[in-house]
């Protein structure tokens, strides 16, 4: 990596790490969402750095533009107060459980990454946008159509779930 690429990589990594920490442990859900958005922007920057601008823009469009708005609606619908159940005290067992859930994959996978990963190329592969379009219309057409079906079913199911009067006769 060139020196500018290194600086950019650590800058984006800093954003991702800070945002993810904020998203995971912040007591207020709105702040947690802000951290999530920051982490998503950092990941989009990392995609840019890997020479995948299409995926980076899709990340910004779908995650930052779509998913975060959905989460914001969920926060509003649950009327989550900053002093609500997220801020309450948790038993020690829960903290230990959470730390173990984090440590086990961290140890196993970091050893695998550091010791057994192949060296990899120094420069990312250059994929023109037309190749991606041909891929979507050619060999991966079925996946493309299936994801639209899945999205449609999810949206229709969400509308039906929210529309039905559960618990009322």
């Amino acid at each position: 990596m060139e020196i500018i690429a290194k600086i950019a990589f650590w800058f984006y990594t800093l954003i991702v790490v800070g945002g993810a920490l904020m998203a995971a442990v912040e007591a207020s859900l709105v702040r947690s969402l802000v951290g999530l958005v920051a982490a998503m922007f950092g990941v989009a920057g990392l995609y840019m750095l890997m020479d995948a601008p299409f995926i980076a823009f899709m990340q910004v469009l779908i995650y930052v533009g779509g998913v975060s708005v959905l989460i914001f609606f969920a926060i509003m619908l649950t009327r989550a107060a900053p002093t609500g159940d997220e801020a309450m005290h948790r038993p020690l067992r829960k903290r230990i459980n959470a730390i173990f859930a984090m440590l086990v994959p961290a140890l196993v996978l970091s050893v695998a990454i550091v010791q057994h990963l192949p060296k990899g190329d120094a420069l990312p592969a250059d994929v023109p946008l037309t190749d991606l379009g041909r891929g979507l219309m050619g060999p991966y057409l079925l996946n493309f159509e299936l994801i639209s079906v899945v999205l449609f079913v999810a949206m229709a199911g969400a509308v039906m779930l929210a529309w039905r009067q559960w618990g009322k006769k």
Binding site: M1, V16, A20, A23, A24, V25, L29, S32, L33, M40, V43, L46, Y47, A52, F54, I55, M58, Q59, I62, Y63, G66, V67, L70, I71, F73, A74, L77, T78, A80, G84, D85, E86, K94, N97, A98, A101, M102, P105, A106, L109, S110, V114, K119, G120, D121, A122, P124, A125, D131, G135, Y140, N143, I147, L151, A154, M155, A158, V159, L161, A162
Partner: protein, 102 residues
């Protein structure tokens, strides 16, 4: 360390912090945020693995795109579920909801 290893370590960090938060959070929305973090890590890992190795780069990028689509579908469904649970239990706290009675 090679760039591939560094990118994979960042992705691993996202996975681990997402797992930590998933256990640590008490409300369903907080859990959803942590799941999104893990999915971001998965996408980063896939793109790094396809862009920085001789593997098929088109397949990796389109796979990440599909992961994003699935994440959007999942977030929609979770939004509806959170809405229904909140209306029914008057809270979205996972401890109360996991007792499965009103």
């Amino acid at each position: 360390m090679s760039p591939l290893q560094l990118y994979q370590l960042v992705a691993l960090f996202l996975l681990c912090i997402g797992l930590y938060g998933l256990i640590w959070r008490r409300s369903l929305v907080g859990m959803l945020i942590c799941v999104e973090l893990m999915l971001n890590g998965a996408g980063l890992s896939i793109v790094a693995a396809c862009q920085l190795t001789p593997a098929n780069a088109v397949l990796g990028q389109l796979g990440t795109l599909l992961v994003m689509g699935l994440a959007a579908a999942e977030a929609t469904l979770v939004l509806a579920i959170v809405y229904v649970v909140t209306r029914r239990f008057k809270t979205s706290e996972s401890i109360i909801v996991s007792e499965m009675k009103r």
